[in-house]
């Protein structure tokens, strides 16, 4: 290795030794991942998105605790009730006092349209508390509990932080439950795409020749078919009598069957170009087996790129599931996902009078945006040529 403290002829360059040891030493020992992390840290937007996403996934994990109610709890007279404001101070004749509460509703029924018009009623006060005892649940299916992060002291009281839907169900709770389904379907789908994509893309790129040609043709054909009609066809094929869980997995399978082509294309491209790289040839000449060459030499050089591509594939999946459920051919009630929630907002008139029904759409936008920024940040950090 070249000694940066001396000239080619051996003369010592003054001051160079000290300067070298300070900065370069740490860089010399930094692994690929550390370097990536340092570059990633600079990308403020990606960092913020990363934090947002961690929060979203935390919500998805602790759904039962965070949601005030279960998904089917309803107060039918309060269908389409507008959101309530959480109030902190109670103004009574004695003065002001800290008391977490919400106001109730008073409604009048329009004679002609038979629609209800809601008005906030300051005379009805319902106490709200943190870590309140509420409906019992089983977190993740087995941990029993009945404490909720926030909720009304009286479990029958109206508490609609984001308003009520068509049947008088709390949108806030349903939104939280929907987070779990919507955010995980993306992950599962992407995993499946990953396996398919790496396998087929790798084979195609590494071996080339006729295998490559055939797989390429298949990918081309699949990619030239417009995805939504394809999804619609596949999704509509799911028998209506299958259980929600089975439907869930079928949907992710469908999404990944179309999605893998994108990943496979990327993997194939990388394998193709890496195959002829000098370091691969050197590894082979060194006597490494095929598997060794692939795993120890080729894969590390593009794994960061794969991670970035994956991160960018997840939002596609989320949008796809939302779209299908929105149309009514994806997940169906009683399963709750953001798409299922949005289906209620399909009617513009309904949306116009109850705009809070659009909240799941906002959730989709935030999640998709964060994932895209994160993916961009990872991709930029992983790019050795920037």
């Amino acid at each position: 290795m070249i000694d940066p403290t001396k000239t080619v002829t051996g003369d010592i360059i003054p001051g160079a030794a000290a300067a070298w040891h300070d900065t370069e030493a740490s860089l010399q020992l930094a692994s690929q991942w550390k370097l990536m992390w340092w570059r990633f840290r600079k990308h403020k937007l990606a960092l913020v998105s990363g934090i947002v996403l961690i929060c979203i996934y935390l919500v998805a994990a602790f759904v039962e605790f965070l949601a005030p109610f279960s998904t089917d709890r309803m107060i039918s007279e309060l269908a389409y009730a507008p959101p309530q404001r959480l109030r902190f101070l109670d103004r009574t004749e004695e003065g002001r006092k800290f008391r977490l509460h919400v106001y109730g509703y008073k409604y009048t029924i329009d004679e002609l349209s038979l629609e209800r018009e809601f008005k906030v009623d300051p005379d009805q006060k319902f106490d709200v508390r943190f870590f309140v005892k509420g409906e019992p649940y089983r977190m993740w299916g087995f941990i029993r509990g009945n404490r909720h992060l926030v909720g009304p002291v009286d479990t029958g009281a109206p508490f609609f932080l984001l308003g009520a839907d068509r049947l008088g169900r709390d949108l806030f709770s349903r939104l939280i439950y929907g987070t779990r389904i919507s955010m995980t379907i993306g992950l599962v789908g992407v995993m499946m795409s990953l396996i398919l994509g790496i396998l087929l893309g790798g084979i195609s790129g590494y071996y080339g020749g006729t295998v490559d040609l055939i797989i390429q043709r298949i990918m081309e054909i699949l990619r030239s078919m417009p995805t939504i009609p394809l999804w619609m066809g596949l999704a509509a094929a799911i028998p209506y009598y299958w259980s929600p869980v089975l439907v869930y997995f079928m949907i992710t399978l469908i999404l990944s069957v179309i999605g893998w082509t994108w990943l496979a294309q990327a993997v194939r491209g990388k394998f193709y170009s890496l195959k002829t790289e000098d370091f691969v040839v050197a590894a082979k000449l060194d006597g490494c087996s095929e598997l060794q060459v692939i795993v120890s030499h080729m894969v590390p050089s593009f794994i960061s790129h794969i991670i970035a591509t994956l991160t960018l594939a997840i939002p596609q999946m989320i949008i796809a599931e939302t779209a299908l459920s929105f149309l009514g051919i994806g997940l169906k009630p009683p399963v709750v996902s953001w798409g299922v929630l949005l289906k209620e907002a399909q009617n513009v008139r309904v949306l116009a009078t109850s705009p809070w029904l659009f909240m799941p759409g906002l959730a989709v936008i935030i999640a998709v945006l964060s994932l895209n920024f994160l993916g961009d940040g990872i991709r930029d950090a992983a790019d050795p040529y920037k």
Partner: protein, 327 residues
Amino acid sequence: MGKYFLRRIFYAIPAIIVISFVSFLLIQLPPGTFADTIAAQMMESGGVTPEAIKAIEERYGLNQPVFVQYWKWISGILLRGDFGQSFIWGRPVGTIIWDRLGYTLLLTGFAFLFVCILSIPIGIYSAVKQYSVGDYIATSIGFLGLAIPGFLFALILMFIGFRFFDQTVGGFFSPEFTHAPMSWAKFADLLSHLWMPMIAVGMAGAASLIRIIRANLLDELLKPYVVTARAKGLSEFRLLIKYPVRLALIPFVATLGWMLPQLISGATIVSVVMSLPTTGPLLLRALLGQDMYLASSFIMLLSVLTVIGTLISDVLLAIVDPRIRFQ
């Protein structure tokens, strides 16, 4: 050039064959057939006998093996232009799909125009004037299109239209123009209904293309041939358009081909949301009702449209980039 064109067509043919098969297969996937749907209907209106179901199956050829059914359908299309019969509407598929497809093409075409008109100037501007106000606006549009999927965008637009402009969406023409012959007034009416779905469908595509043009142009602006052009005495504007933009447009055209299936997809779903007379809503109904020939024909034709689109864009690419022609 001609050889290249012929080669591409040659490769497209097996693709179309496979697509037709896949489209047909798709509708066979759900358990049961149209006969069951009829049976369910008959159940409600009075009773159903096994013989009746058998008769329906015979009549529509539903009890034969898949390949036979497929062959009958394909040969019908190729030899007689007969796409089969729609079970739900009881009419030949041909009478239903063509104007629907026409409208889909119309919407997709306009969305495509929207994408080009929006993304090219904005992309160029934000690359040339990096970090300016215009660049930030462009980046923001980029994010909007990135994060908001077409159907959500459609919902938002409809909401804004309804709440603030008291405009409802539904169809492409106002009642007075629906059956009137084509005229400038009718065209203007069409445009006034078209702008919302056009933006909803095209936004995502426009957003990603702005980013692509910007990134590519930034790369090209640093290349040596730009300096050479300047050294010849060209003005900045002329050399911008003639050289780096021309080269940055090459990946743009390449992306266009891949964007076409996306636009058609988007058009499908946006039409459902906005109740437009295109293929989307009809396809949905056909799928849910297992209207075999109608659904398969739709899917196949939409895919064929995309294949043709990619073919056109490949040819465009060869025109724009001589390097492809000669290799």
